[in-house]
Point group: C2
Chain length 301, copies 2
């Protein structure tokens, strides 16, 4: 299959929703006509062979789904509605590219994402970069920086093992837009992503509950494993979601765990720390795959 | 240098122009507030080590400039004003990434592009994907499909050898927005890109002049070498630009060359054809580097 044939194949199948994407695949640029009353949100996410998936563990359509879903999760975390994607793919012609695009397009259709363009080129190992646009009513995007002391911290689902087929949590969008003061998607581990949210908000946290756990996961895995693609959110309201604890004034970014006797220990942002204040180093989430513990497939940022 | 340090280094230097990018690097998404009266244009372009540049031939800052300039050229071709970029980079930590970003940021500043976000990860060979947004007054984007019989065909500069440091032709934007009926940037060779414009417009062309040539280039190179990053445009008006010939009704996409005696030959879209109608095959611009003639560095789409 030549590049031209593959583009024609994609173009026939590429979903298109609504009228705001005025011009899609086939010119130098895609054209989008903004709607009054909305801010636009943009994110971009790499999905790399042997880093975010392996051909041994993933069917082509599963890898394609994941490439789109990873980027969508960033939009879900800010309360946005997906609009369109540009899909850049570098791959070997020996890959099952139709299989990969079948999964990617299936995910795009499921979440009503127009595929508006992209770039195709050759590379020995597959690299997919999905750039995504979404919209929120003007000024309503949910930032990491909006949490305030007294807010309650929730997660949207279980943690502890990485998800092969991420499900971006758009189903909670209206709850989030009404009630969340801050949010982030949990991709590098709950502790690390909570610390990022707290740092952006200039706050600390007092935790009373572990997150709900995936089957077989320990509490430490629940706090430190990446790729759950569930959301962490702060809200001044009581929500019907798993409750972790409270945002408090304190040392920016610090996560303090209170046990039932009122004893407190610190949870390390970079890895679970059983012996504070002893420094405890886990490899960063961007260390090469081979040097990382437990999770064989982790997010690249 | 860790990823976090590199992001902080970029964040300090990343240019930001105007108030429409409300939130840049540092959250799950960038936020852009559209301006009434404008369409938004989006493009994405890969720049790959050993395909679009080699470390032997390029200094790090030159490779970075090129990554940004290649994407900008697509915006220039549609008459757009650049707005912001998302920069995805996969590279080895052994690369001079500060050098690469210095060139990329220099190019962004020169063309007033806000760097609003991106993604960083590791890869043995450098892969940069620049997603760019620009704006044009509503409905004014210059498409490939707007050429009509009787329009005159122009190029904006010399062709024939690939440009190491592309210069996107934004300087002609106001002329283009007033007078161009169709345009495309010449990245895969003038004949091929002209054929694309004609195909999109449902027309043919009668050519009376070769394009102006780079020093040392032959007419065949002028028609078939890629990476000039000059623009090809069609206009119903007489413009003070190098004139190639006319858009005509005819076999869609066909380029006919008229000599001074009124004899005509066909110019092949995929490669200069001295013996029509004998089929004449040159490798496609997406064949691997080693199998391509003359131009050691060519565009991946």
């Amino acid at each position: 299959m030549t590049e031209r044939e593959l583009i024609a194949w994609i173009q026939q199948r590429a979903p298109r929703f609504g009228q705001r994407v005025r011009l899609g695949i086939g010119d130098d640029c895609a054209i989008y006509r903004p709607q009054p009353g909305y801010d636009l949100l943009f994110t971009t996410d790499f999905t790399l062979e042997d880093r975010h998936f392996t051909w041994r563990d993933y069917k082509p359509h599963e890898a394609g789904w994941k490439a789109m879903a990873r980027a969508l999760s960033d939009l879900a975390a800010m309360g946005a509605t997906p609009e369109f994607a540009l899909v850049s793919l570098a791959a070997s012609t020996e890959c099952n590219l139709k299989g990969f695009f079948t999964g990617l397009i299936r995910c795009a259709k499921h979440y009503r994402v127009t595929i508006a363009g992209g770039d195709l080129t050759e590379s020995p190992r597959l690299i997919c970069d999905v750039s995504l646009a979404g919209r929120v009513p003007t000024g309503k995007a949910i930032l990491r920086s909006g949490a305030r002391p007294g807010d309650r911290l929730y997660v949207t689902g279980p943690m502890g093992t990485w998800k092969k087929n991420p499900v971006p949590r758009f189903d909670l969008r209206s709850t989030m837009l009404r009630h969340a003061s801050a949010a982030i998607d949990v991709t590098d581990g709950l502790a690390m992503d909570l610390s990022r949210l707290l740092t952006a908000s200039g706050c600390a946290a007092e935790i009373v509950n572990d997150p709900p756990l995936d089957p077989g996961a320990t509490a430490a895995m629940g706090w430190h494993e990446g790729e759950s693609y569930e959301l962490l959110l702060a809200s001044p309201k009581r929500l019907r979601l798993p409750y972790l604890g409270q945002v408090v004034a304190g040392i920016t970014g610090q996560i303090r765990r209170l046990d039932s006797l009122g004893q407190s220990t610190l949870i390390s942002a970079s890895g679970w720390d059983p012996f504070p204040p002893e420094p405890h180093c886990l490899p960063s989430p961007d260390a090469p795959l081979a040097s990382r513990p437990r999770n064989p497939l982790s997010r690249g940022k």
